[in-house]
Every structure is written in structure tokens, then in C-alpha cells.
Symmetry: C2
Subunit: 289 residues, 2 copies
């Protein structure tokens, strides 16, 4: 089964669990809408790719970890789009959750996705119960306070920001959570996979900055120019356009080089280099070539 | 150690974990503000009281469960007070979190408290790892979709409400979560403690309706008359004042009668009857006498 199908099948099971009975109906619709159709599913793909590279001896555990990570990512998108944050009317090329279902439902849907993520890990790891605590440990760290994506969003309210700490929390943390959770789910040492998550997360943040700067809303399915509009730090402002593209390429190279020796390392390197090509906005493809 | 001190000490440890390093500073302050000083801590008291009645053989597990339950309760208060929900300016006699720290920080603080709750269970149950999945199971069910407090809030957006299902989700679910988690943490059968949580949750909902109807803001530390203002169901409207007070007393009696035979059953019955007296608004004490 290809990764995308495997991810969506497991997300479908989680959403079915949370919406059993179909009531209350509005939030049930909003939960499904928040998760389907998905974006690139890059974080759960990364989690499963690491698990597969390490043998994926407990697929229920890796499925649970990948599902939880994507549910938490979707929750963060739903809350980030709220009027008090980015006030984004669109996401993934359709109305954002609060635009489609109202603000109260959007807040509650995000909350429910967070709870569902941890329930999924606890429920689906029955065959490998010793992996529940370490999985929740690395995934909780990746999303919560003081180092996860919630902290990253919270940095935007601070008067003074350390750009590196901010980007680490806002973006890299969940990539690190994805690689290390994939390793734990497969019974491997998460430390060997920390650098891959870190480098890819840094690369993804630079790519996100490039897309915000240089893409069209049609290409990325959400508003552009948000960093400039909200006076947020952006790698293009810091390094210039050419410098930011170079930095992205360096980070992808470091990511590929960090992959430890294991039975699936060659497969994973190809996957990383393939994913990296999707990160560059179309309008910058010639700059990056 | 008395229950209140035990609860606050464990909440303090959890908040210290989430705010390690003190940054980002605004949300760190908001997290502490959301949890301290607390209200009656009735749910974690109930969780620990059940664990103690069953012998409390693994205090780390019962502490973790009680802490997680109170963190989730605090998260729900922070989000319920937001402008798009109750738009409450005060809570526990002080400005609500969004009033004090702004709306974005309030959304993120609630999110962070939810994550912290599940991290706490995973981290603190090292001596009893077999209890992590069942604890997350009952606590996740108590707060998440489709039967937990998030579903309860979500019912308020529906055009047609089954009052019993709504109250079960909004209030009783977390009381059931508290009693059953206390039992699981102590290695006991959670089914024996389901009815206690259910009856107390129903009683608490009736008491909450009475307070919203008959108290002053000074007595309960938050605005009154919210149910009428938001056209929400309320037991006083349904049963009349005398009928609602009688219903409350019946439920407390059922709760006390449901306590199973165990070494701490007498202690627990006294605790329940004592707590019940605090539930009645002062202005109704003569009606309830």
C-alpha cells in the first residue's frame, strides 16, 4: 500500500471513532472537513518512512504515531486560521474551518483533534504498550509547551524573538517529532533520527517563507504575503531571495546525509530528495535549478 | 497530606514542566494564571478520593490522572470564556484569560493545557505503564468527541438538543472520567465507579444551573444569568426552582448510595455529602434545608 493511502485510511478510522453516531452534527462535519482532503501529509509520510526504513515491525504503532501527528498538525491549522491569529479565509484551496462552520466550532474542532491524537496512540498500541509513553513523550514535546508548535505560535505575541528558537518551535519541532516517533514505533533508537527531522524542519520553514513571499494563492491554496502583512520574521527578508533558496538546498543535503545506516536508508534518501523538489514555489524553480 | 495540597503540588509540577525556561513568557504566565489559584478542584478531588477508597497503591498514577483531569477542565474554562463562546470577562473572581492576556494567547494556552494533560499521564506512570492506555481511554472519552465536554460545548451550536445527552456530555462526562480514572489508577475496576461519577455529574449540572439562576457574580466569581442570556437549557426553567433543588438532593443521595464496598467507602460517602452542601447557592440554602 502506498504511504498516502495508508495515512488516509488510518486518519479515516480516527475520524470515524470521533464522529461515531454523527452527533453533535456540525462539529462532526467540521472534524472531517479539517482533515480531508489533506495537504501533502508530509509529516505522517516522514514518520512512516522512518518506521519503514527501520523495518516497521509494529505497523499499528507507526500508524498511530503518523495519525496522531497529522491530527495535531490539522488542529494547529484550524486554530492558526482563526480571526484572532491569521484570520485566513481559505486553507488547502477551500474555505477555512471557521469560515465554513463558524468560530466556536473551529475552536472546538481543534481541541477535539488534539484529544483524538492522544487517544489514537493509546488505543492503537495495544500490541506494543511499552511504546505509548515514549511516543506521547516525543509527540507531546513536538506540539506542546515550551518547545513545540504551540510555543512557536506563542512566540509571535512576544516583543522580542530569537528567530532560531521561534522557527525551531513553530516548524522543526513537529518534523523532529515525526522522525523520532517513527523510530520509536519501529522499536529503533529515536536519537539516530533527530537530525533528519531537524534539518527537514528547518528546510520546510525556509520553503514556507519562500512560498509566502513568492507564490500565488492559487498555487498554495491559502493567502500569500501573510508574513509581511503581520510583520513576522521571514527567511527571504533575512537572507535575500537567492540566499534563502541556497539555504533550502543546503538543508535538504544535510537531511539526506544525516540518514543513519539501516535497511531502508537508500529508499528514504530518494524520498527526501523527491519531497524537497515539491517545496520550491513554481515561480522560483529556475532560481533553484 | 490533604487532597487540596496534593492536587496543587502536582499541578505545580506540571506547569513547571510546561514553562521550563520561562519562554515564550506571555503564554507561560497565562498557563500558570489559568490553573492557579484554582476553584474547588472538585474533579481531581473526586479522582483521588476514589483512588484512596480503593487503596491508592500507585500514587504517581492517581496524581497523574487527577492532574490531567484538572488541566483539561481548566483548558475548557479558558476556551469557554472566549469572545466567540460566553465572552466572559471574569472567571474565579479575576479577569478571564483572554481578558488578561489576549485572545490568541487564550486559545494557545487552552491547547497547551490539553497537550500537557496527556503528557503528564504518559510521563508520570512509569511505575505502572499498563495503566497509561486505560487512563487515556477514559479521560479522552470524558473530554473529546463524541461524548465528552467538547461535544457538550458543540451541542450548543445545534438547532435541536436532547437535554439529557447535552448535559451528559457537557458536565457528567468529566465526573465519570474522574471516578473511573481514580479506580484505574488504583488498579481497581472502573465499572464499579461509573454510577458515582454519573450521579455526581448530573447533580453538579443541576447545581450549576441553580447557581447561574440564583447566585450573585460575587458569590461564584463569574457572570450570572448566562443561560437565559444565551438561550441555553437550564434545569430551573425545566423543573422550577423547588423541583431543581429536589432533583439535586435526589442525585446526591443516589451518588452516595452507589459507592461500592471498599476499604474507604465510609470516608468517601462523608466527602460526597460534604461536597454536596457547597453546591447549593447561599440564597437557596433555606430552600434546600
Amino acid at each position: 500500500m502506498d504511504l498516502q493511502k495508508r495515512i488516509d485510511r488510518n486518519l479515516e478510522q480516527a475520524i470515524t471513532f470521533a464522529t461515531a453516531g454523527g452527533n453533535p452534527s456540525i462539529i462532526c462535519d467540521a472534524l472531517r472537513y479539517s482533515v480531508f482532503p489533506g495537504g501533502a501529509r508530509i509529516r505522517p509520510r516522514l514518520c512512516l518512512a522512518v518506521a519503514l526504513a527501520e523495518g516497521d515491525e509494529a505497523p499499528s504503532a507507526s500508524n498511530a504515531a503518523a495519525t496522531a501527528i497529522e491530527l495535531l498538525h490539522c488542529a494547529s491549522l484550524v486554530h492558526d486560521d482563526l480571526p484572532c491569529f491569521d484570520d485566513a479565509a481559505t486553507r488547502r484551496g477551500k474555505p477555512s474551518v471557521h469560515t465554513a462552520f463558524g468560530e466556536t466550532t473551529a475552536v472546538l474542532a481543534g481541541d477535539a483533534l488534539i484529544v483524538l491524537a492522544f487517544e489514537t496512540i493509546a488505543r492503537e498500541c495495544l500490541a506494543t504498550p511499552d511504546r505509548i509513553a515514549p511516543l506521547i513523550g516525543v509527540i507531546g514535546r513536538a506540539v506542546g509547551m515550551p518547545h513545540g508548535i504551540i510555543a512557536g505560535q506563542a512566540w509571535e505575541s512576544e516583543k522580542s524573538i530569537d528567530l532560531k528558537v521561534y522557527h525551531r518551535a513553530k516548524t522543526s519541532s513537529l518534523f523532529i517529532g515525526s522522525t523520532t516517533a517513527g523510530a520509536i514505533a519501529a522499536g529503533a533508537d529515536p536519537q539516530n533520527w533527530y537530525r533528519l527531522g531537524e534539518a527537514l524542519g528547518d528546510a520546510f520553514q525556509v520553503a514556507d517563507d519562500l512560498r509566502d513571499f513568492a507564490s500565488s494563492p492559487e498555487e498554495i491554496g491559502k493567502p500569500c504575503g501573510q508574513d509581511a502583512a503581520h510583520d513576522r520574521p521571514n527567511a527571504v527578508h533575512e537572507l535575500g531571495l537567492g540566499g534563502a533558496v541556497q539555504r533550502l538546498q543546503d538543508l535538504v543535503g544535510q537531511a539526506a546525509a544525516s540518514i543513519p545506516d539501516c535497511r531502508g536508508s537508500d529508499m528514504l534518501k530518494q524520498l527526501i530528495l523527491g519531497e524537497a523538489k515539491r517545496l520550491v514555489p513554481k515561480s522560483l524553480a529556475t532560481v533553484a535549478a
